[in-house]
């Protein structure tokens, strides 16, 4: 179970058969079923990508997708987009609180969405001074990477409830 050093440039990444990610180390070995994970999805997204085989053992860890060849990088980024779906809030359109339940309408990088948060103080994860993750009643997560970077109106609405 030791990490065998694999040169990132020698990694071939592709979908074969359709829908299954496969990794081949040039002229060496091939892993028919591979899963790609981010080791630090919240604090350092895109860095430290871990490739794991079907059993869950790590094949290799690369510092970032930039280390891969252009085609492997494309596939890796597509796979990351498939696996990780957290909406990043760009603007808070409306927050209404009624009896401890807050109704949010936000505009995110994935589109507009309405959601409900049962009790904000318990459903708010602070990842940093201004970095927040809000979890709605279904468990969906909405990330505010930097609440100071939001527009004034959004910031005010947020301040009212946080």
């Amino acid at each position: 179970m030791e990490l065998q050093p694999i040169a990132p440039a020698s990694i071939r990444l592709f979908y074969e058969p359709q829908g299954t990610l496969r990794l081949t180390v040039a002229d060496d070995r091939s892993y028919p079923v591979v899963k790609l994970y981010q080791a630090w999805p919240l604090s350092m997204p895109g860095r430290y990508l871990s490739f794991q085989d079907a059993k869950g053992d790590e094949i290799t860890l690369i510092e970032s997708a930039a280390e891969l060849t252009a085609e492997a990088r494309e596939v890796a980024e597509e796979e990351l987009k498939r696996r990780y779906f957290t909406a990043r809030v760009e603007a808070v359109v409306d927050i209404r609180t009624e009896f401890g339940v807050s109704y949010w309408r936000v505009r995110t990088d994935k589109g507009e969405r309405d959601f409900v948060v049962q009790s904000l103080s318990e459903s708010c994860i602070w990842l940093g001074e201004h970095h927040i993750l809000i979890v709605d009643v279904d468990g969906n997560r909405f990330e505010i990477a930097d609440r100071m970077a939001l527009d004034t109106a959004s910031r005010e609405r947020l301040d009212c409830v946080l």
């Binding site: 498939r82 779906f85 009896f99 109704y103 994935k110 507009e112 009212c160």
Partner: protein, 748 residues
């Protein structure tokens, strides 16, 4: 008593909503399952909508405009599953061409797609369609807002009036006392209105500069009036004391009733409620939220009543004195009211923030004190102090901000309320000078005004009290209204005697409905058998036994005890016959004897000692200075690990269940204690149907059968000897354990 929750979905109705295709006439194109996915994978994975339809012949996906994007014939489908992603999941079909992703969706609809996947697989295999397909309401019927809980109620639509009535209903049992409080308040208000009247009389009749009286003439009159003042003073003070006497009674008892109601509801809730929330959040409902309602009932309501009465009384009296002046002097009232409300909103936000900072401060404090061992072991005192300092400072800063705002607010209020006095002097002075009003009346008016404006400043606070009480009430009623565990169903079967036969039939369960932990468990256990559950961590061992205790209900399949579906058994009866010795025994803060007798209160000393002896605990207990009266401390901290285990075993022995669940501790103890624990365990399991999540070799060897679980399915069943011979999964597990664990002397 409290109103019942509206629209609770009937359990039977959900069963009726199972989708079946035993209808011979179901045409090929007829859509059998339909659901909308809320994610779109094109254009970089965003929110959107894709409709997935499953018919007898194919699975198709349509976009928002109804254009068909994908169609997969059922005949080509081998398997269907939902692949969990971060922040959602994906429905995938395995066909002859490989994996075809069908749709992506967030956690909001994940469970439904999981059911759909099952349905697709059933159709693909040619089996009749049999899935749970309940149409849940996700939006409120009235206001169209998202519901916090599917099929639950909409907090926004709850009429404040209804909640208020419900809160006030807690005063019901104390109608007499509430009435007394009401009457005394009224009388007290009247008494305090009398004071200004006497002031007027003294000023106008005794001390009037226009009609001076000699001491001999004036004194008796003065004494009379002052006497009147004295009476009014005595009366209002006395009434205040009486009122206080009853208010104290009301407040204590209403709070008590509320807390009791919440606690008893809390105890009867299903475990899923506790799994979702932290202990602190739950206990705060019993303490803080009841406190808020109490605060409103005991401080808010009386204040409101008093202030309103005062205002009315003053207005009436004032009009009687001089309507013009009264009007003028009361003119600032609405201004003050509006200003108060205006100042209050940001004020309450600041207070809310202070509350939150307190919460964070407390959490950190609790944690670092509880984990002080770790702090010291890792030499992190500086680090912890840095964290503490940060939270401490945040708390202080928010407190400073709030307090400063408060003083500004108070000062501002004082300023505005002072206007009333100024107006009274100017206009009143003018009226006196033109002879429309006596000086005495003016003095009286000034006094009256003071009595009104004082309480008026806090008017805005009433709204605050009200909102917070409403919020607190909602959380409490949420607990009280939650569907409790089916404790007292009338048609439940009571098993006075239980043999202990247990059967699992096609049991499926997942804490997260879209991700089953147990898939299709079939097991038949006869009374008295000892079943050893073995498997890697996460295989589903603890979950299996949790289902047996009915801490959770199986998603599919049947669990039977003595041939009866456990859902039909009375919950109390079932649990009385089941005993648990958990991995980390939880002991209550009490004596050793109390802990051993927990399942059988009223056990005699002899019974307790017999159980302790059987558990090899009697010796160490009696050797302690306080013997069986020894206090075990919070969570049993005053006992060592091995001692706690044996007390837990004694507890189970005394409880004498027919079915025993034994979750063996993995931590190792010294050889002697180990031998004692093994002996105690052997005595415990004798004659009972035992489900042991086993780690010790001795337990495994003594088991009638071993059941090997892997990823939620039973892969091997047999005796220890049989499975070792087979050299299958079990053999591999044993090999790994032997390689990594230290040698423990084993009683062979």
């Amino acid at each position: 008593m409290p109103l019942a929750q509206n629209e609770r979905v009937d359990e039977d109705a959900s069963l009726a909503a199972t989708t079946r295709t035993d209808r011979v006439n179901a045409s090929d194109g007829e859509v059998l399952i339909r659901e909308t996915a809320d994610l779109v994978s094109e254009e970089g994975h965003r929110f959107g909508s894709r409709e997935v339809c499953v018919s007898r012949t194919k699975v198709s996906v349509r976009d928002e405009h109804g254009v068909e994007l994908l169609s997969v014939p059922i005949a080509d489908i081998k398997t269907a599953r939902t692949e969990p992603l971060v922040g959602g999941a994906r429905l995938e079909l395995t066909t002859t061409d490989g994996i075809v992703p069908v749709a992506e969706f967030t956690a909001s609809v994940a469970a439904r797609f999981s059911e759909m996947a099952r349905g697709i697989e059933q159709l693909a295999k040619g089996e009749p369609l049999n899935i749970k397909w309940k149409q849940e309401r996700t939006r409120c019927a009235q206001c169209d807002r998202l519901l916090p809980e599917k099929d639950g109620r909409c907090p926004a639509c709850v009429k404040r009036a209804a909640v208020l009535r419900r809160i006030l209903s807690y005063m019901g049992p104390y109608r007499k006392e509430a009435l007394i409080v009401g009457v005394t308040t009224l009388l007290g208000t009247m008494a305090s209105l009398a004071m200004p009247w006497f002031t007027k009389l003294i000023a106008d009749e005794v001390l009037n500069a226009d009609r001076p009286l000699t001491s001999a003439q004036g004194m008796p009159l003065l004494l009379l009036y002052v006497g009147g003042m004295f009476l009014s003073l005595a009366l209002s003070s006395g009434l205040q004391m009486i009122k206080g006497w009853y208010v104290a009674f009301l407040s204590g008892n209403i709070a008590k009733d509320l807390r009791a109601h919440v606690y008893s509801s809390l105890e009867r809730l299903q475990l899923t409620f506790f799994d979702k929330k932290q202990v602190g959040a739950i206990t705060s409902r019993v303490t803080q939220d009841t406190d808020r309602i109490w605060g409103f009932l005991v401080e808010g309501v009386p204040y409101l009543v008093t202030a309103t009465l005062m205002l009315l009384g003053t207005a009436v009296f004032g009009f009687f004195l001089n309507w013009k002046l009264t009007l003028a002097a009361l003119a600032p009232v609405p201004v003050v009211g509006v200003a108060a409300v205006f100042f209050w909103k940001p004020m309450s936000i600041l207070f809310h923030k202070v509350g939150q900072k307190w919460g964070r401060f407390h959490t950190h404090l609790n944690e670092s004190v509880t984990g002080i061992r770790m702090v010291k072991a890792f030499a992190q005192e500086e680090g912890e102090f840095a964290k503490f300092h940060k939270r401490n400072s945040e708390l202080a800063d928010s407190g400073v901000a709030a307090d400063r705002r408060w003083y500004l607010f108070s000062g501002g209020m004082m300023f505005f309320t002072g206007w009333g006095t100024l107006i009274a002097w100017i206009y009143g002075g003018h009226l006196v000078m033109v002879g429309e009003m006596t000086f005495g009346s003016l003095l009286a008016a000034q006094q009256l005004l003071w009595q009104v404006y004082g309480p008026l400043q806090w008017f805005a606070q009433v709204n605050q009290w009200f909102s917070r009480a409403m919020a607190g009430a909602e959380r409490i009623f949420e607990v009280i209204d939650q569907q409790p565990e089916g404790y007292d169903r009338p048609e439940a079967v009571h098993l006075p005697e239980m043999r202990g036969d247990v059967t699992f039939e096609n049991v499926r369960f997942g804490y997260d409905k879209s991700n089953p932990v147990l898939k299709d468990i079939n097991l038949d256990v006869k009374a008295g058998e000892m079943i050893g559950l073995v498997g890697k961590s996460g295989a589903g061992k603890s979950t299996t036994v949790s289902l047996l205790c009915r801490f959770y209900e199986a998603d599919a399949g049947v669990l039977k005890v003595d041939g009866v579906d456990i859902k039909d058994l009375s919950l109390q009866a079932l649990r009385r016959h089941i005993g648990i010795v958990p991995q980390e025994p939880f002991l209550f803060n009490g004596t050793v004897a109390e802990n051993i007798a927990y399942g059988k209160p009223g056990a005699t000393a002899e019974e307790i000692m017999t159980a302790a002896r059987a558990a090899c605990a009697h010796d160490f207990i009696t050797a302690k200075p306080d013997g069986y009266d020894t206090q075990v401390g919070e969570k049993g901290s005053k006992l060592s690990g091995g001692e706690r285990q044996r007390v837990a075993i004694a507890r189970a022995i005394l409880h004498n269940p027919k079915i025993l669940i034994l979750d063996e501790a993995t931590s190792s103890v010294d050889v002697d204690t180990e031998k004692k624990i093994q002996l105690a365990t052997a005595r415990l399991v004798a004659g009972r149907t035992t489900f042991a999540i086993a780690h010790r070799l001795s337990t495994l060897r003594n088991a009638s059968r071993l059941v090997v679980l892997e990823k939620g399915q039973i892969v091997e069943v047999g005796t220890h000897a049989e499975l070792m011979e087979k050299e299958g999964e079990f053999f591999k597990l044993v090999q790994t354990q032997q390689q990594t664990s230290q040698a423990i002397a084993v009683v062979g």
